[in-house]
């Protein structure tokens, strides 16, 4: 299975995904990225943080 890396960029700083995840294909990687983004947003909302400048 290919390995996909989900780096996070907040506009000023890039947090590297050093390990990556094994996922079957690009579609699965896209699903993983979307699910991850939703999870990060949910956590940010609870903390009243705006993470709109972040890119995954």
């Amino acid at each position: 299975m290919p390995r996909f890396f989900l780096h996070i960029d907040n506009g000023t700083q890039r947090i590297e995904d050093e390990e990556g995840s094994e996922l079957p294909n690009v579609e699965a990687a896209r699903e993983e990225a979307l699910g991850s983004a939703r999870q990060l947003w949910a956590a940010a909302i609870l903390k009243q943080q705006d993470i709109g400048s972040r890119r995954l």
Partner: protein, 232 residues
């Protein structure tokens, strides 16, 4: 032979001598399965080092860690509670070594040795306190706080400050996707509490980490020390 496992160490020498001839020493690589779900438990494990994870399964190989046992405890608790299997999966999270005893022999020893049985039952109480606080943390705390708690629990069960863990494992521990782990590690690192490199987390400021973890950390640990003895 002095034991590093806190339960074996807490037993009086006479009780240790009862168990000693039955104990088999093994090296346990990361990923080694100690207990498989819904299968009879063949052996009970007393880890001397390393960490095992007790995982509740959600189907499709997915699950979440519900308990942690290292040198503080034993693996194969159902045998102590007159059950022969568990729906949980228990595997080595961090490579270590440990002793194991045949499950049937273990039950015979328990029937005959009230002192050993009582100590191990007190561990069940301590462990169940740990799992209830995991439930509390999962419901009430942020990923950062839960990560802090988990790192402290792991740090308690080893001698040095370096915890060898991948993000994949941490995601399983905390029941979140990997980018949430990446962000949480980055925040704790930004606060100076830890240093995270590929596959390795170094605890830098333990006291600050404890303060940050809040109510999730401390109560189960105090309960362990009250019931068994020194944890760290």
């Amino acid at each position: 032979m002095a034991f590093n496992n806190r339960l074996l160490r807490a037993l009086p020498p006479a009780d240790q001598d009862v168990l000693r001839p039955h104990l088999r020493w093994s090296e346990l690589e990361r990923g080694t399965v100690l207990v498989s779900p819904d299968e009879p438990i063949a052996r009970v494990w007393f880890l001397e080092s390393g960490l095992s994870s007790i995982v509740a399964m959600a189907g499709n190989d997915q699950g979440i860690e519900v308990g942690l046992a290292g040198r503080d405890g034993l693996v194969g608790m159902p045998l102590l509670l007159d059950a022969d299997r568990t729906p949980h999966r228990i595997f080595m999270q961090v490579t270590g070594v440990g002793y194991s005893i045949d499950g049937d022999l273990f039950r015979i020893v328990l029937d005959e040795q009230a002192g050993i049985r009582k100590l191990l039952l007190r561990y069940v109480q301590a462990y169940s306190t740990q799992t209830t606080y995991t439930a509390l943390s999962n419901a009430m705390h942020t990923v950062e706080e839960r990560l802090a708690r988990w790192l402290l629990m792991s740090h308690d069960r080893q001698n040095d400050d370096e915890i060898p863990l991948t993000h994949d494992f941490l995601a399983l521990m905390l029941g979140v996707r990997r980018p949430s782990v990446t962000i949480a590690l980055h925040s704790l690192e930004g606060l100076g509490f830890i240093k995270a490199t590929r596959g390795l987390i170094v605890v830098r400021k333990r006291e600050e980490l404890e303060e940050f973890a809040g109510a999730g950390y401390g109560v189960p640990e105090a309960e362990y020390e009250r019931l068994i003895g020194q944890l760290r």
